[in-house]
């Protein structure tokens, strides 16, 4: 009976019913199939929060402990679920606290709709309490933003917001709604946005470009495919695998392309970039064809552009026209959605084998195994390494877990060594490099993919930037496995200071709180590992716990992450270990 009444009500709503702007916002979220809202209330968004009381059964609100946490949680949710992450925040400081997460989502192409409260329209521009020009502030870091000052605008503007956030190359959208627009009555009728004239989210595919790309692939003797997040965003993982298996193309992933292919796939040659794998970096400068799919040739991937793959032709499959020829000249650009392009490309590509070329990667892997990986995973020193922690996490996750990382040395180690069997299982802040990302992102990641374990791997620096989100984990009972790799340093900066600044450790040594006690204060199980003997069992306890768990591992204070492409160097000048007399720059 109750359900019947509800159905009747929703029919009434769609033929145009009078309701407050605040209620319209929540009705729209239901129609956009939003499950979770990550947010924090405050004066200017109180009408919406008040209405939320009546929607608690259908819209779950996650109260983070800081608005930045809300954006990162929404990002984690969006990245594992493939849906739009939704945030609420109030005006002024609530809104400005969203900015870091929005900027992160913009550079990493993550779909968010952030709704901020704003002072009433008649107070705009008067320096009213908690008034800030969030439209102006967020403009450079959003895909789109808009200020709503009357309730009648809400349906159309929010429809556009959801459409823009997730169409084409996704990104964050911010909608600022004045308090009067939340209180006022609108005639509610919702039409989902299906497009508008000034915006072409997905360029149509030019068949000639596809044909030319296929011919280049068929000619190539030494192809290398670069797998970017565009593959994951387009859900093109199986098409990509089909292509590389058919044409036998060694494949390397960018940090955001991680998990787009099984880690142990024979054609997966590892990670690109400054701390990526030896083979893909070195052989970038030997391949005859680079096939970039949904990636943007970030400077951390390319190193010095003047010495980047100059011998190779480049196929660039990309949804965003502004990325073509931005950093690397594309001989064969193919504009379009990665899945649609690959579907057209596969039939035109010849079955092939590149055994000699793959052998080169294998030999590089052997050398890296001996000089780097073995030392990282099975160190001979008494001190624990970050790599051996990853070894045990892999052991107990079986590659099925979502690995969320923060930013710094632990991120590079985790991304290098984590094993993945499922796509969309690596969540990290790639483009912006936002310390503090991990803990809140892990919360969202778990809600976006509840059947997977979520392991949050964080350094002692980054964890303290958003550590208050332990409160969110506690209150919402979201089971996260938190691993704090504690070297009592801001490790990546310290590594650079050691290598490039004469070991002048300016402001990088950290005195930390007792993380175990801190976790216990939040009623979260926790323990600390100091020695190798106890590591295996501790990771096992962490991974088999049904509830949240914080595992602090005291690792070597001054380990470095290798291999490394020093800044300004060519990718093929990648170093496997610290040279004896490395010249500081």
């Amino acid at each position: 009976m109750g359900q019947l009444i509800q159905e009747e009500q929703s029919q009434l709503i769609d033929t145009g019913i009078k309701m407050s702007g605040a209620r319209a916002v929540l009705e729209i979220l239901l129609r956009e199939e939003v499950e979770y809202i990550f947010g924090y209330p405050g004066g200017a968004i109180m009408p919406i929060y008040d209405e939320l009381m009546d929607y608690q059964d259908r819209l779950k609100h996650i109260l983070t402990r800081h608005e930045q946490g809300a954006t990162h949680a929404a990002q984690g949710y969006a990245r594992t679920s493939g849906k739009v992450g939704v945030c609420f925040a109030t005006s002024g400081p609530g809104a400005t606290n969203l900015i870091t997460g929005i900027a992160d989502a913009q550079i990493d192409s993550t779909p968010l709709v952030c709704i901020t409260g704003q002072v009433s329209a008649h107070l705009l521009g008067t320096d009213a309490f908690q008034e800030t020009n969030i439209i102006g502030i967020s403009m450079p870091v959003t895909k789109w933003n808009y200020q709503v000052t009357s309730a009648d605008e809400i349906p159309e503007v929010l429809a556009k917001a959801f459409y823009i956030a997730q169409s084409g190359r996704p990104g964050p959208v911010l909608i600022d709604i004045t308090k009067n627009a939340q209180f006022d009555t609108c005639n509610f009728q919702y039409k989902k946005c299906l497009g508008f004239r000034s915006y072409i989210p997905v360029p149509s595919i030019n068949d000639l470009q596809v044909k030319q790309a296929a011919e280049a692939i068929n000619r190539s003797k030494k192809p290398l495919l670069l797998l970017g997040q565009g593959v994951l965003l387009a859900n093109a993982e199986s098409e990509l695998k089909h292509l590389i298996e058919k044409a036998d193309i060694p494949t390397a992933w960018t940090i955001l392309g991680l998990s787009g292919l099984e880690s142990d796939h024979p054609l997966n040659m590892g990670m690109l970039g400054m701390h990526g794998n030896y083979g893909p970096n070195l052989l970038t400068n030997e391949c005859d064809l680079l096939i970039a799919v949904g990636m943007r040739f970030d400077d951390r991937v390319t190193g010095n552009l003047d010495h980047y793959a100059k011998q190779a032709e480049v196929v660039h499959i990309e949804i965003d026209p502004a990325e073509i020829n931005k950093n690397v000249h594309a001989d064969y650009p193919v504009l379009g959605d990665a899945k649609a392009v690959l579907e057209k490309l596969i039939p035109l590509v010849d079955q092939n084998d590149h055994n000699d070329w793959k052998e080169r990667f294998k030999r590089c892997r052997q050398e890296e195994q001996k000089k780097v990986i073995e030392k990282a995973m099975n160190p001979t020193s008494d001190q624990l390494s970050m790599g051996e922690v990853m070894k045990w996490i892999n052991q107990y996750s079986g590659g099925e877990a979502i690995v969320v990382t923060d930013v710094g040395q632990h991120q590079m180690v985790a991304c290098r060594y984590a094993q993945f069997r499922q796509s969309k299982s690596s969540i990290t802040s790639g483009g912006l490099g936002t310390m503090g990302f991990c803990l809140p992102a892990a919360i969202g990641a778990k809600l976006g993919s509840p059947d997977q374990e979520v392991v949050a791997i964080i350094g002692d620096g980054g964890v303290q930037m958003t550590i208050q989100e332990l409160g969110t984990i506690m209150q919402c009972e979201i089971p996260i496995k938190v691993v704090i790799l504690n070297n009592e340093f801001l490790g990546m900066v310290r590594q650079w200071q050691e290598l490039f600044f004469d070991k002048r450790y300016s402001a990088t040594e950290m005195m930390n709180p007792d993380f175990v006690k801190l976790a216990q204060a939040y009623n979260i199980q926790s323990e600390r590992v100091l020695e190798r003997d106890t590591l295996d069992a501790a990771v096992h306890r962490l991974m088999s716990s049904k509830e949240s768990y914080v595992l602090e591992v005291m690792v070597a204070k001054e380990n470095n992450v290798f291999p490394m492409v020093p800044t300004g160097a060519s990718v093929s000048d990648i170093i496997l270990e610290k040279p004896n007399n490395y010249e500081s720059k």
Binding site: S10, I135, G136, M139, K191, G195, Y199, I200, N325
Partner: protein, 180 residues
């Protein structure tokens, strides 16, 4: 290092408060100085045309134009060399009435095809429309009058190659569907 070139960017966008900020932010983020900027509605109702002059390396403007097009309200952006455009600017000069009375100005105004907009007790306002170099030539001649006030518009320009901005609209936009 290639040299900076005089280039004119034309941006066509929907009308909305804040678009100008979005467009200029794309320039300032890359430290590209805007020499002049003119905005008006174009031949298509509701579509605004921004004419922006820069001196910059062509490659960075090529990339900038793509970034401008990424803005969801921007329909299309182009950049052009001077010879691909028909352009005009307008300048106003305020000079003392004594210069007119003394007969010094008449010949200059005739030679430069300039005209007097208003004559007041103390001053006259002269208008000159043309290329910037023509305006600057008049400026030099009037300088000794002296010039009491000077103001000039940015460039308004129309490109020689045929461009129908309507052809850049997303034509595959379906009708809105009501969802339950």
């Amino acid at each position: 290092m290639s040299l900076n070139k005089s280039l004119t960017i034309s941006v066509f966008s929907e009308s909305r408060a804040g678009i100008l900020h979005k467009i200029t932010t794309a320039f300032s983020r890359r430290k590209i100085n805007i020499i002049s900027l003119t905005v008006s509605e174009c031949e298509v109702e509701g579509v605004f045309r921004y004419t922006i002059e820069v001196e910059e390396q062509e490659d960075s403007i090529r990339k900038l134009v793509l970034q401008l097009e990424k803005q969801v309200e921007v329909i299309k952006a182009f950049y052009h060399y001077e010879n691909e455009l028909v352009s005009q600017e307008i300048a106003l000069f305020k000079i003392p009435i004594s210069a007119i009375a003394a007969g010094k100005a008449e010949k200059i105004l005739r030679e430069h095809n300039a005209r007097v907009l208003t004559l007041e007790a103390d001053y006259a306002v002269i208008e000159k429309t043309g290329y910037r170099r023509e305006i600057m030539a008049l400026y030099q001649e009037l300088e000794s009058m002296p010039i009491l006030e000077y103001a000039s518009s940015g460039k308004v320009a129309i490109s020689k190659p045929e461009t129908d901005i309507r052809s850049y609209f997303n034509k595959s936009v379906p009708q809105h569907a009501v969802i339950s």
